[in-house]
């Protein structure tokens, strides 16, 4: 399956429009992440690709063929649910083998008695058993093969869900926030496992998450969604370094990009009537702008040395690095702290500046990202 195309796809539930006209192309073998806050329509989009939710308008094409009315089976997709959705009364083996058993199913097997007999035969089928065992071994589930989901931990259930997706060797893997029910350590481990799985099978993965760290670490391409609309499509690097608008800038990165609304007058930028600072170069244009800079591009310096006077308000040590939250200061006195979002600085090491101590911030003009103050769109340099 080389290509999946979403062509002006839209979805409405009653009067609520969940997705407004969305177009994108998913290339063969890529790891596409749908990233966005809850309620942005990313899960709905994934379910539409899977064929679990109907499409209100637009077209989904698999390999150039219109697939709007195809069943999930015809689309040859595998779906990993957030809740894992394992079959509680079946053993791990039964769960993993289920798609193959269903493949071998013929309508006349529905006849009473035939059904049970055929099922037992399928489970003993050497081809199915071998394939099940191989997949179970690949995901280190072989010691658990005869247990039932109730007796497994969250991570193990997650693995069973992955194994069930893997067994039929589908052309597209769809994963709906598969790691959100796991604890932090396990999440990191599974993240790596899913990434390596993607490399191993070389198939297309579409992965839904609201966690930007997952998106940044796993994706080859990210679609950032908000309120049912595409905000940006790009590689993790593009999304991080050249966010298309202030929403993307705020959503991606932790802490997120510092955004300051300023009035530009040449190289002089005014934040408030009493605070203006010199920017190394001229702003891209005069008037109201949003000045954006990543926390790691700001430098914390002794007072007076940088163009932006500030005061340390929050210090968070993360071990290898430290995040300092500052409040900008007008007029050089403590009485004139400017009331707006904190400006965050990220720096390596663990040297903690004292809370309340005065400081200043400096930056390189080339690291600044500019946005239009009204539309929020990034201004191309």
């Amino acid at each position: 399956m080389p290509e999946l195309v979403l062509d002006t796809v839209a979805k409405t539930f009653g009067d609520t429009q969940v997705i407004r006209s969305l177009s994108a192309t998913v290339e063969d073998g890529e790891f596409l992440v749908l990233l966005g806050p809850s309620g942005c329509g990313k899960s709905t989009l994934l379910r539409m690709i899977a064929g679990l939710t109907e499409i209100t308008a637009g077209e989904i094409r698999f390999d150039g063929k219109r697939a709007n009315d195809w069943s999930p089976r015809e689309r040859d997709v595998a779906f990993v649910f957030q809740s894992y959705a394992l079959y509680p009364h079946m053993t791990v083996r039964g769960n993993i083998a289920f798609p193959l058993v269903m493949d071998a199913f013929r309508p006349w097997h529905h006849l009473p008695l035939v059904n049970g007999w055929m099922r037992r035969r399928r489970m003993k089928d050497p081809a199915i058993a071998a394939r099940t065992d191989a997949i179970a071994r690949q995901l280190e589930l072989d010691p658990l093969i005869d247990r039932r989901p109730a007796g497994l931990s969250g991570g193990q259930r997650q693995r069973v869900a992955l194994a069930r997706a893997l067994i039929r060797d589908p052309s597209i893997y769809l994963l709906d926030e598969p790691l959100s029910n796991l604890d932090a350590r396990l999440r990191m481990q599974m993240r790596a496992e899913i990434s390596s799985l993607h490399h191993k099978v070389g198939k297309t993965f579409v992965y839904v998450t609201h966690d930007q760290v997952e998106a940044m670490t796993m994706a080859t391409r990210i679609i950032v969604l908000d309120k049912g609309e595409v905000q940006q499509i790009g590689t993790p690097d593009e999304i991080y370094h050249a966010p298309a608008n202030t929403f993307v800038a705020r959503f991606v990165g932790s802490p997120s990009m510092n955004l300051l609304t300023v009035d530009g007058e040449g190289a002089q930028l005014r934040i408030s009537p009493s605070l203006s600072f010199a920017h190394g170069e001229a702003a891209p244009r005069a008037g109201r702008l949003v000045f954006g800079i990543r926390p790691e591009k700001l430098e914390l310096r002794p007072p007076g040395e940088g163009p932006l006077p500030a005061e340390v308000v929050v210090v968070e040590s993360l071990g290898a690095e430290i995040v300092v939250g500052c409040r900008l200061q007008a007029g050089g006195t403590r009485d004139h702290l400017i009331d707006h979002d904190l400006v965050f600085v990220r720096r390596p090491g663990n040297e903690r500046p004292a809370l309340g101590s005065p400081c200043s911030l400096s930056f390189a003009a080339g690291d600044v990202v500019w946005f239009d103050a009204v539309t929020g769109l990034r201004l191309k340099p």
Binding site: P72, A85, Y87, P99, M102
Partner: protein, 303 residues
Amino acid sequence: MAAKTTMRTSALGARAAGYLFIVPPVIYLGVFMFWPLARQMWMSLTNTTLARPNDGVFVGLANYARLLETPAFYASLRITVVYASLAVLLGVTLGVVSALAINRPFRGRAVVRGILLFGWAVPNVAAALIWLWMFNERSGVFNKMLLGMGFSRLRWLTSIDWSLPSILIVTVWQVAPFVMLVTLAALQSVPEEVREAARVDGADPLNVFRNVTWPHILPSVQLAALLVAVWSIRRFDIIYLLTGGGPLGSTSTLVVKIRQTAFEAHELGIASAYGAVGLLLALLVAGIHNLVDRRRMRWVAER
């Protein structure tokens, strides 16, 4: 040390509180259930009669021996088993099928559900009287319908062949809504994602039902079946009001037989023996349910 003692006392107190809480139901059940039950068991070993309810003389197992010699006892036992099994089979099947039908959203669903629940909401005596009227040989609506379609009248309640089926019709009409209600509740808790997973895995609708829905609702259906079975074994009002156990004992279940023996033949001893057999039957059903339940529950406990 002091803290330890306090802890021990409070643990003791907590345990005592537990026992204290179960004292009222134990007293209640003891007075109104276990004492009469024990008395009945004792009575089944005496020759008590209705005229002298307190002067029974111990006769050992003579009452049971007499039961085993009476053909009417076997007939009654057979009728009870047939009646209860068919009530379970038909009532549960109909209840589950209607629950599945009504579980999908459609226009007028609330009205249909209300109508289907009607049988369960009507008090037994009222229901029996309504059906008595409908079954009436001369003026009943069923025979009118039969005549209208060109058939001859049926003696719904007064022929040996039709009396038990007629009573079963009423029973199923009453029991199926209950099963439907229980099943509907279970159906509403079937996880949607698992059903969708089965669809993605290539299961057709019947396979989704067989592999996801049915295993999920099975415990509820089984419980409903147990209740229906026990209720059927001890059902009295409908049968007594519709046929009184007749004609010729063709609808005389154990419970109806108890009344006959106790209050028409005045033989409390033998009636008690009938009661003991009925109890045994109910226990047997509960035992089977328990066994099946435990086998099924094993996978939940499995670690």
